[in-house]
Symmetry: C2
Subunit: 331 residues, 2 copies
């Protein structure tokens, strides 16, 4: 039998299809003996209920969309894993979609989610098509965003507490005697990059450290941007003694730039990254960085979509904290 349906099972067990359905979904509504016969038939025929048919009648697909910009960005795999772990635990399947930072691909992604009738979508990217988002909202498809600008009706949001970790970092650096602390930001069109930069500025003034504009330069959240930025920073007549980067890739670029200039980390300049991607542990020297748990992020995204208590969680948060390794040292 290629693909047995509920009918073959019913015939085989000499019951009606309803009884088969019931022994699967409402076991207590069927007599044990009958159930046994049905199960025997199910295993005998290797029957698997057709999910499509089930969803069609139930109106729920048990499918969750997860949209990221680029899965090869080391930030995302752990997010996905965290999301997936909870999802499969609750018998949800996941539809992934990559936007490649392209609004058009984003639109296609959402259209696919719409056609598949997903029970929720986690959107971890910023290229969003407002019109399509509206359509999801109108269909009451639960959505969750990451650090979205303006939370709306029916849209959950995960806010990352960047400041807690950045404060720790500045605290750490200040404690080591650093006063001229530079910052290499991410591309400022990115909302999250803006937030990180802001958090840094605030943290600095919180410590009464003067914020020198020349010490804040823009990178691109990639290695080369970090390298270019640190080079610029090192050309200052009063160069910083420590640098905080908006993400780990930037920090890697910075370290590389410092080495290329014949200086050492942390001997001449201390460096602190952000994110604590897997790579951070393996730079040379191992990178001191602010950890943002992507697994936790994935978990929260799932929780926002599938509310255990029945009511949707509007706003969830994820903490950050400093992980001290070996790229920071007293001045």
């Amino acid at each position: 039998m290629a693909k047995p349906t509920i009918h073959q099972v019913a015939d085989h067990a000499k019951v009606s299809i309803t009884t088969v359905s019931r022994t699967i979904n409402n076991p207590d509504m069927v007599e044990p003996e009958t159930a046994e016969r049905v199960w025997a038939a199910i295993t005998e025929l290797e029957y698997y209920p057709n999910g499509q048919a089930r969803s069609l009648v139930s109106g729920r697909s048990r499918l969750l969309g997860l949209i990221v910009s680029d899965i090869t960005n080391p930030f995302f795999p752990e997010v996905i894993k965290g999301f997936e772990d909870l999802a499969t635990e609750q018998r949800f399947d996941i539809l992934i979609g990559s936007t490649d930072y392209d609004p058009q691909k984003m639109a296609l992604c959402i259209r696919r989610m719409l056609e598949r009738r997903v029970d929720g979508v986690a959107i971890m990217t910023s290229e969003m098509d407002n019109h399509l988002i509206d359509q999801l909202a109108r269909r009451k498809v639960p959505m969750v965003f990451l650090d979205v600008a303006v939370p709306r009706e029916g849209i959950s949001n995960i806010v990352v507490n960047y400041e807690s970790g950045i404060n720790e970092a500045v605290d750490h650096l200040a404690g080591l005697g650093h006063r001229r602390i530079g910052f290499i930001s991410g591309p400022q069109q990115l909302k999250s990059a803006q937030i990180r930069r802001l958090a840094f500025m605030r943290s600095l003034s919180r410590y009464g450290i003067h914020v020198d504009d020349r010490l804040v330069v823009e990178g691109d959240h990639k290695v080369n941007g970090g390298l270019a930025a640190i080079t610029q920073l090192m050309q200052l007549q009063e160069r910083p003694t420590a640098v905080l980067a908006s993400n780990d890739l930037t920090a890697v670029g910075a370290i590389r730039g410092i080495h290329q200039a014949g200086l050492t980390v942390p001997g001449d300049i201390s460096v602190v990254g952000f994110d604590d991607i897997w790579l951070a542990e393996f730079t040379d020297p191992p990178l001191t960085t602010v950890r943002l748990s992507r697994t936790e992020l994935g978990h929260q995204a799932f929780r926002a979509l599938v509310c255990d208590n029945g009511t949707p969680h509007g706003e969830l948060s994820v903490e950050t904290r400093l992980v001290i390794r070996e790229t920071t040292r007293a001045i």
Copy 2:
């Protein structure tokens, strides 16, 4: 209208549902004027056909399963991306599943794929439940594996040509004067690790270099295993002047171990990795390694599942080649 069905569209356009279906699927069977009215209704109501219903009647889900062991393993994201790129291009959606190297999770994964009625599954992991694999085969679900032991009827296989790249590496090393070349293998219960080790041995003898058993030690495809292995290798009275690692993580561990021993790379020992994961470019010094294109791997996996010409491709291959960076030097 929360979720308009084909019926509302039909009413709105004052035609039958059949006509709506046709203007979407067989445009030439419907008069242009009518079609226009229908399209107007579709956009007006923001109608998206229900994929579940469609699959139910067509018998094809346009869903492809992709099973990996651990998405946070830097090997996989690019594979997924390559697979996804081609898939979305042809309007397929992807269901991901992680096994976490756990046969039981693998079984659950496959069960989910079965229930979703996927049109094909790419299985990029080795924990496989033969019984469930059989069920997939019996249902004629196209499958593709990576370096599987015994290809069977209806199962495609992607063979990676490890030897081409490893030959290049040994060639390169031999050209630099190295004769005592060590190898740090992966865990030998892994099929692919065995193949890599074998390819190395063969390559060596191909160059007439004597294979000293003590120069081949087993790692675990992770950083710590590489570190432990290189430590063991360095304790030999005649230590190797160059080491080839079964994957890049292992190479990273090796470099670290060499540094910890107060030696330098490539000054004292040359190191060659395998895979060319993203990280390889950012080690210190940048890692010379054998590149295995994961994107290509993903592409091939897709092609094996969805055959353009109508007949399934039974066996596809992916090449490897040496990428020379800075961890190798003349003796």
